[in-house]
């Protein structure tokens, strides 16, 4: 396949066009929230939420056909939200470190999901596709959900941005100032769950973490102020994801894996350039 054809394919084939729009929407959402995940030190939490989706997915796939994307999304979201509320509670100003509890909890829920899938779902749904992403599963309903999520995410993050920053910077100071830190804590977990559940077909439960983390690391490394951090994170996320999708189509690679590897290579490349510039 020629390099040009690798691009024009996205206009000629419906499923590729859907994947292009879906990837664009997902990368914008991930780029926006990623610096907050990194600075809140919630990288492990993102992994916990994404792995917890497996239980919801298994229940959804055992009940309804995999083609009913809206209902698959809603059931997965509902089950994952129940798990995530427990995770949010376990991590809000607790005396004991909650890492181990989170680790046990999400692997347990994932294991239960795999058992339910093997018992009730059988060949009805491709769980592997949701673990590592499969753009062939995308349909217009998924794009609608991703678009709605992005429309919600932009005002929820950007309008009270100062409050988010204060809570990240000085949580106790924010509480003493009268900010409802608990509300923002739970809101962040709910947004993260929406984002991860909506990204399962493109990136997959395992690989979505790269999209949630790498853009934020890039933004925080090169941004001089918070506006620059967010803009760099979104730009990196969008360019990296679209390049990953293009290369996946060009080489017939799995989409989620290619997106993750391309973003990682771009990040390492940017660090190398920065180091060379410093030496020069």
């Amino acid at each position: 396949m020629s390099l040009i054809q690798g691009m024009t394919d996205f206009l000629h084939y419906d499923f590729l066009f859907l994947s292009l729009i879906g990837t664009l929407l997902l990368s914008l959402s991930c780029g926006l929230i990623s610096p907050l995940i990194i600075s809140k030190r919630y990288a492990f939490m993102g992994a916990a939420v994404s792995h917890s989706t497996i239980l919801g997915l298994s229940i959804a796939l055992s009940l309804i056909p995999a083609t009913d994307s809206i209902n698959i999304f809603l059931i997965t979201l509902a089950v994952t939200l129940v798990i995530v509320i427990f995770l949010a509670k376990a991590t809000f100003r607790q005396r004991l470190p909650s890492d181990s509890l989170i680790g046990i909890f999400f692997t347990g829920s994932m294991g239960l999901g795999v058992i339910i899938h093997s018992l009730f779902t059988g060949q009805k749904g491709d769980l592997m596709g949701y673990l590592f992403g499969n753009i062939l599963l995308l349909d217009k309903g998924d794009l609608l959900l991703s678009g709605l999520l992005l429309m919600l995410l932009i005002p929820i993050i950007l309008i009270p941005l100062k409050r988010w920053l204060y809570i990240i910077y000085d949580e106790e100071g924010a509480i003493v100032s009268g900010l409802s830190v608990k509300f923002f804590h739970y809101l962040f977990f709910i947004l993260l769950t929406f984002l991860i559940v909506s990204s399962l077909k493109i990136a997959g439960a395992v690989l979505v973490n790269t999209l949630l983390l790498v853009p934020g690391v890039f933004g925080l490394r090169f941004g001089k102020n918070i506006k620059e951090v967010i803009l760099l994170s979104i730009s990196f996320s969008t360019l990296g994801s679209l390049l990953g999708l293009y290369l996946a189509n060009l080489n017939n690679f799995p989409s989620g894996a290619t997106l993750a590897v391309v973003q990682l290579i771009l990040l390492l490349f940017s660090f190398a350039i920065e180091k060379l510039k410093r030496k020069a």
């Binding site: 610096p35 990194i38 600075s39 809140k40 030190r41 005396r95 100062k162 409050r163 920053l165 204060y166 990240i168 910077y169 000085d170 949580e171 106790e172 100071g173 924010a174 509480i175 003493v176 100032s177 009268g178 900010l179 925080l220 941004g223 001089k224 102020n225 918070i226 620059e228 951090v229």
Partner: protein
């Protein structure tokens, strides 16, 4: 007469899963307008726990707090613009790049005006540094920026957790003199938790010495070396204390509160 800003009455604290392990026991004191109360004590003595109770981050297990004569029923009554809190620098998460003017404006999150930020930065001696990143400041400047953030809402009580930690003696003096100026100019009450005994004795009006269930509180003039040694369980040299032997013993007995026994037993 100066009115009372914050009063603690027989405040106790224990974790619900270990009710027999008292962290704080029957702590009572008050701080009035323009006064400075220094809280001293060894590590693990309950200073930070008490401070967190005073700013509404933790609820006391027993006892009450009164803010301007009104009993605090809910921790949220302690939150808002009334109390300016300056946590330890280590408590800040400085991963995000934040400019000084943005950092200070956190202190009045709903509606801060540019002039308020400029004025408060001038007050703490950070004028002209509005656009610098918080992480670029020196240790002393960071403390001043924290103080500016706490002051921007115009609080009547400032609570500072180890403000002199990491500062050299000049930096410590400058910061504590700035606090003295704030007390004099704005009648702000100040509560300081610190390990720097001499600086606390020098700059505070009242002292609370705390070590788990033992505590002592009174005007600093009544603080003796033996009180400190019994609280810290060690001997001290080079303390900035007056000779206490000349103090009127009757007055001393009436005003001192040295608590390391069960109050109920004492009462009986």
């Amino acid at each position: 007469m100066q009115s009372q800003i914050l009063e603690a009455k027989k405040v106790c604290f224990y974790y619900p899963d270990a009710p027999d392990n008292l962290i704080l026991k029957d702590i009572s004191f008050y701080v009035s307008e323009g006064q400075a109360l220094g809280i001293l004590g060894p590590n693990g003595g309950g200073k930070t726990t008490l401070l967190k109770i005073l700013v509404g981050l933790m609820a006391p297990s027993n006892g009450t707090l009164e803010l301007k004569g009104k009993s605090v029923k809910n921790l949220k009554e302690l939150h808002g613009p009334k109390i300016g809190y300056v946590p330890q620098l280590a408590a800040l998460n400085t991963i995000l790049p934040v400019r000084i003017k943005d950092f200070v404006s956190f202190g009045k999150i709903n509606s801060v005006q540019k002039e308020q930020v400029t004025n408060v930065l001038e007050l703490v001696g950070l004028q002209g540094k509005e656009d610098k990143q918080f992480s670029e400041l020196s240790g002393g400047e960071k403390k001043r920026a924290q103080l500016a953030k706490a002051l921007v809402s115009g609080p009547f009580l400032l609570v500072l957790d180890e403000p002199t930690a990491g500062l050299d003696s000049i930096g410590q003096d400058q910061l504590l003199e700035l606090l003295a100026k704030l007390r004099a100019d704005f009648n702000t009450a100040v509560i300081i938790v610190d390990h720097n005994i001499n600086q606390i004795i020098k700059h505070c009006d009242k002292i609370l010495c705390l070590n788990k269930t033992s505590h002592w509180h009174e005007d600093k003039d009544y603080l003796t070396k033996s009180v400190l040694e019994s609280i810290y369980h060690c001997e001290f040299e080079h303390l900035l204390l007056h000779e206490k032997e000349s103090v009127d013993m009757d007055k001393k007995l009436h005003h001192h509160h040295f608590c390391d026994k069960d109050h109920d037993e004492e009462d009986h």
